[in-house]
Symmetry: C2
Subunit: 260 residues, 2 copies
């Protein structure tokens, strides 16, 4: 039995197909989120990569910010529920999940069996989200994907004192003008995101094992800074961007099994 989960975010669409709620058959990501063709393209990618046609999918579950606008779903499930399920699927027994997306960040406490017990969310302020990194990368004439590589080469961390993205932008520009090394600035930028999201995590309680998900989880600079800030090891999976989609597919499988 195949279940498909689709996670429609503000900047990206991500999806996964599971076989019998156990085996990952395929995953797909498109850099186009809510209100675009991204979700439809992800579903087409998934079917093609799995060599399946739509009729073979037993159940489809949509999650994420754009889930209500997606027509082809049997169920629409909160992203918190799906992220928790997906994180537990990859890291069984996980107790804390920190998800940093393109425009928001959340910290989720789990009960050890894949259920969310508490959460804290920031979806109002660009600081501490992928958007902060995008803005800073723009100023430094880098791609957001290159930030981690730059940070890794830093000789020291140039701290960014403003938390606000707008004020931090001016701060970075003035540091650059004063001749601060770009790599050290990038390290400071990664630290800024880590500190901001780390304080979100402290509000739900930092119980290990702890994992990170979302696009920003791929950034080793942020991950390292967050690990130092929280004084805890951070589990990482290359599937970090698919926790929502995997959780949605798993939810579909479990619900389908209960009802049939």
């Amino acid at each position: 039995m195949y279940s498909l989960g689709i996670d429609i975010g503000s900047t990206t669409s991500k999806g996964a197909i599971l076989e019998d709620g156990r085996r990952i058959v395929s995953t797909s990501l498109r850099k186009a989120g809510i209100g675009t063709d991204g979700p439809r393209e992800v579903v087409q990618d998934l079917l093609r990569a799995s060599d399946l046609d739509e009729g073979q999918i037993g159940v489809t579950v949509a999650t994420g910010y754009g889930r209500t606008l997606y027509p082809g779903a049997h169920y629409r499930v909160s992203e918190l529920t799906c992220h928790a399920l997906g994180a537990h699927f990859i890291f069984p027994g996980i107790r804390t999940l920190i998800d940093i997306g393109g425009q928001d960040a959340k910290a989720i406490s789990l009960d050890g069996s894949g259920r969310m017990s508490n959460f804290q969310m920031n979806d109002k302020c660009a600081a501490g989200t992928g958007r902060f990194l995008d803005v800073m990368a723009g100023i430094l004439q880098l791609h957001a994907g290159d930030l981690a590589g730059e940070a890794a080469l830093a000789e020291s961390i140039c701290p960014i004192s403003s938390t606000c993205t707008v004020f931090a932008e001016s701060e970075v520009i003035s540091h650059l003008a004063q001749g601060v090394n770009r790599k050290d600035l990038v390290a400071g930028i990664c630290e800024s995101v880590a500190t901001r999201t780390g304080s979100l995590a402290k509000r739900v309680g930092v119980t290990p094992p702890l994992a990170m998900s979302g696009g920003v989880a791929l950034n080793e600079g942020v991950r390292g800074a967050l690990s130092r800030y929280l004084e805890v090891e951070i589990l990482f999976s290359p599937l970090a961007q698919f926790f929502g989609g995997l959780g949605a597919a798993l939810y579909g499988y479990q619900t389908y099994n209960k009802e049939n």
Copy 2:
């Protein structure tokens, strides 16, 4: 007896000379704040406009964010104290002052005799400050000084749902792409600043008479929106940018009189 007050902000320097703590002899503003020649130029402007030389100034008081870096002051006094004094000088008996500057905003409660009794401040987030207006003006290819005029011509207010400057920026760009009238957008932008600062004011209590100060007070669009939001009349003086400097000069006069 002449007293000079200088108010050194993040983006501007402002000053005033008072005669006997009563008559305003001169005022000056330069669009250059902390760490620039702005403060020195303001003092030169003031002396020139008053036809005085430095030796004739009995006392000089510095206030504002940059007061500690200014060498020529006999006293350095908190901007809250000076704003309260200056507001009471212009509007005797004033009970609430809302000051929106280039990078911060504050709401001050006064006891009716020019003394601050409570305050709330935002100096961490660009939303609800002059910086928000500058960013939005940039997107709309306007000068910040033209926003009020545009807002006055709006046929309806296009609300901006994001409070965050960064997210509001994207929202304004997408409204523009959808063909929303620029004037209606500017009205929404003014309303956003008013709502944000209005909620700051509600936290100290909105007791009339209430006045507005700071550079953003010159913007009638924000003033009107704030008046509607708080359901209270807002007193306005063309000297709105000089409350800090006037208060500093007044503080100087009072202190000089006590000590001599």
